[in-house]
């Protein structure tokens, strides 16, 4: 694999889910990825999907995929509650892993994956791709350049109209996502990426007030504004929304994310966010649920 082709086996391959963005990779200059195997639970669907993406081998048995010698990296895009067993199987087979968020939804599972990655000496990248969105990269640069000084407060919002997502991934209705890990984990990861480790969590939650559409869903301009500096005009970085052919519109971000992973495979550096990042985000989510239940501040559990 060093310097050569990086062969991907994709668990949870669908024509319209996030896994489909991986099919953009072989066309990207400098990337050496090729999808050699695909897996999904419904065999008829996976055959059709694999053929449409020219993937040469497909299965409905994730263990068979993980065993294949022509797979270097297992990419897990299955429903959230299956991430653990799919990642564990891949790691047991000595494969590198890319796992879409959330890494897992429980502390014990998170700890086991951390231990497995270390013992197998493989690379593990968590698909918290927002770190690789241009607006967060721009914010990161402002922080790294010292434009804000030492950050003392961070705020992260995530608002998502999920209806199109439910259509593309109907499992979310059959096995409803845990909101903390399915949604809030985006904010948790961004806060961790920009602000550092989270020492305590205080959370409240609400259920189901939103009934009607209120977003116009039209693409808008994205702006990163560095404001408030004494005597200086605001520094505004504007982006037009990235357009690509991927089903979820995240293709360009996924390409940056996977370019980072390729660099880690080539250099031996640890991916970021890695398995420990994923585990720590899970610990924050678990602490948040406990805080919601108890009304107390909760320290995230150790996962290292």
């Amino acid at each position: 694999m060093a310097g050569g082709e990086i062969r991907l086996g994709v668990i949870g391959m669908g024509r319209r889910n996030m896994a489909s963005t991986l099919t953009l990779l072989p066309r990207e200059p400098g990337l050496r990825y090729r999808i050699t195997a695909a897996c999904a639970s419904r065999v008829q669907d996976i055959e059709q999907t694999a053929r449409s993406f020219a993937v040469p081998w497909w299965t409905d048995d994730y263990r068979a995929l993980a065993r294949r010698p022509d797979v270097d990296v297992v990419c897990v895009f299955s429903p959230d509650h299956l991430h653990f067993e799919h990642c564990r199987e891949a790691l047991r087979q000595g494969k590198h892993v890319v796992c879409t968020k959330p890494m897992v939804t429980g502390l014990a599972d998170a700890r086991e994956l951390v231990a497995l990655v270390r013992s197998r000496k493989v690379k593990f990248l968590v698909g918290q791709t927002m770190r690789f969105d241009r607006q967060f990269l721009a914010a990161r640069k402002h922080l790294d350049d010292g434009d804000l000084g030492t950050p003392i407060a961070l705020e992260s919002h995530y608002v998502h109209d999920m209806r199109p997502v439910f259509k593309a991934t109907p499992w979310r209705r059959a096995v409803p996502q845990d909101l903390m890990f399915g949604g809030c984990v985006h904010c948790i990861d961004v806060l961790r990426a920009l602000g550092g480790e989270i020492e305590s969590v205080h959370a409240v939650a609400n259920r189901g007030g939103l009934q009607a559409e209120f977003t116009d869903n039209r693409p808008g301009q994205i702006r990163v504004v560095l404001d408030g500096r004494a005597g200086q005009e605001p520094d505004v970085t504007s982006f037009e929304p990235e357009r690509d052919l991927s089903a979820c519109g995240h293709g360009a971000t996924v390409i940056r994310h996977m370019r980072h992973f390729q660099e880690c495979l080539d250099t031996g550096n640890e991916p970021s966010p890695g398995v420990l990042d994923g585990a720590k985000s899970v610990a924050v989510g678990v602490a948040a649920w406990e805080s919601i239940r108890t009304g107390r501040s909760v320290q995230p559990a150790e996962v290292d």
């Binding site: 407060a153 609400n206 007030g209 116009d216 408030g228 009304g295 107390r296």
Partner: protein
């Protein structure tokens, strides 16, 4: 019909950094009110200078006021309609109890009180003596929040169920080291900045707060006895939620106010801008799209709105019962931050 005379106001207490000058300047620009006098309340000229930035004589000369030592002397000599209290926060209830029997309306410059017992004393004195007590200022009278409230009241976003508001302020360094504001017994930013935010939550959400969680930290003012960055989260009746950020730590120009309020039919986003040439924006987002709302041309002066209320002989737009509730919530937030636990 004879024109109504301007509301005659006297200041009780001038040993304060902001309010005496704010009221003197603000009233001086109005025709419907006149600041006639002040009572120093036994505070020495040197202490007044430390707080006010000038000696009482200079203050009197600059604004054309008659100075008295005691509030009783001022009330006897001046034909006042209202007294504006600019004393230590811990003394507000005592002064209300002394002034209320004279039948004068009273404005209390926030912080309202630092204890619930004091709040109860003020509410009781107001009712017993049939006067009106106003508390302020209130950010609800700022044009961008007025525009947002008008939109909420018109039902454009449906029933609000979530709200976030942030207020960016300077630092405690504006207060002289001898200023009473630095005395933790006077409540600090937990009550003085919390006042604005909790008032806005109650104003916009129109539901009682049933639970409070708060986290406070001190970052840019290590010598401060107070937090300089605070986050409060509220559970409201019916399951609605609100959160507030208060920054008492900014040493740079920064938008003073931000808010988002979400209902089942839409959302309103407010961003006050000081430096961005695009200006302050109040944006309504609904199924029909996004549009910026016009700001009202004028409304009540956000710091002197109580003059309108007193002149119109109507109940103040911020009542003492409301101020009591705001204080209760701010105190619960402080308690929550200390205990790292939610408070009712």
């Amino acid at each position: 019909m004879a024109a109504r005379r301007p509301l005659r106001i006297g200041l009780a207490g001038i040993a304060a950094l902001y309010w005496p000058v704010c009221i003197a300047e603000g009233v001086g620009a109005r025709r419907d009110a006149k600041l006639t006098s002040y009572a120093a309340l036994g505070v020495s000229p040197s202490v007044i200078r430390d707080h006010l930035g000038m000696l009482p004589e200079e203050f009197a000369r600059r604004y054309g006021l008659t100075g008295y030592d005691s509030v009783e002397d001022m009330l006897r000599a001046e034909d006042l309609d209202a007294v504006a209290l600019c004393t230590r926060h811990t003394e507000h209830a005592d002064w209300v109890q002394r002034i209320a029997p004279q039948g004068k309306n009273i404005f209390i410059a926030k912080t309202f009180t630092t204890t619930m017992a004091d709040a109860d004393r003020i509410c009781a004195a107001e009712k017993r003596h049939g006067i009106r007590v106003a508390v302020g200022p209130s950010a609800r009278h700022l044009p961008w929040f007025m525009a947002a409230k008008r939109c909420v009241d018109a039902g454009r976003i449906g029933t609000p169920f979530s709200m976030h508001v942030a207020h960016h302020h300077g630092t405690i360094d504006v207060f002289d080291t001898a200023d009473f504001y630095r005395d933790p017994r006077e409540g600090g930013p937990e009550l003085s900045l919390g006042w604005y935010l909790v008032d806005l939550v109650l104003h916009f959400m129109q539901r009682p707060v049933t639970g409070v969680s708060a986290t406070y930290g001190t970052f840019t003012t290590p010598g401060s006895p107070f937090m300089d960055c605070g986050k409060m989260t509220f559970r409201l009746e019916g399951g609605a939620m609100a959160s507030c950020d208060m920054y008492f730590c900014n040493r740079f120009e920064f938008p003073g106010w931000e808010m988002e309020i979400v209902g089942e039919k839409g959302a309103i986003l407010v961003r006050q801008s000081l430096g961005d040439p695009s200006g302050t924006k109040v944006t309504l987002a609904t199924a029909a799209g996004r549009r910026d709302l016009p700001l009202p041309a004028r409304g009540p002066h956000w710091e002197l709105f109580w003059i309108d209320d007193f002149n119109a002989s109507r109940a103040p737009s911020l009542s003492t019962d409301h101020a009591r509730e705001v204080t209760r919530i701010c105190l619960a937030a402080r308690d929550s931050a200390r205990a790292s636990a939610r408070r009712k």
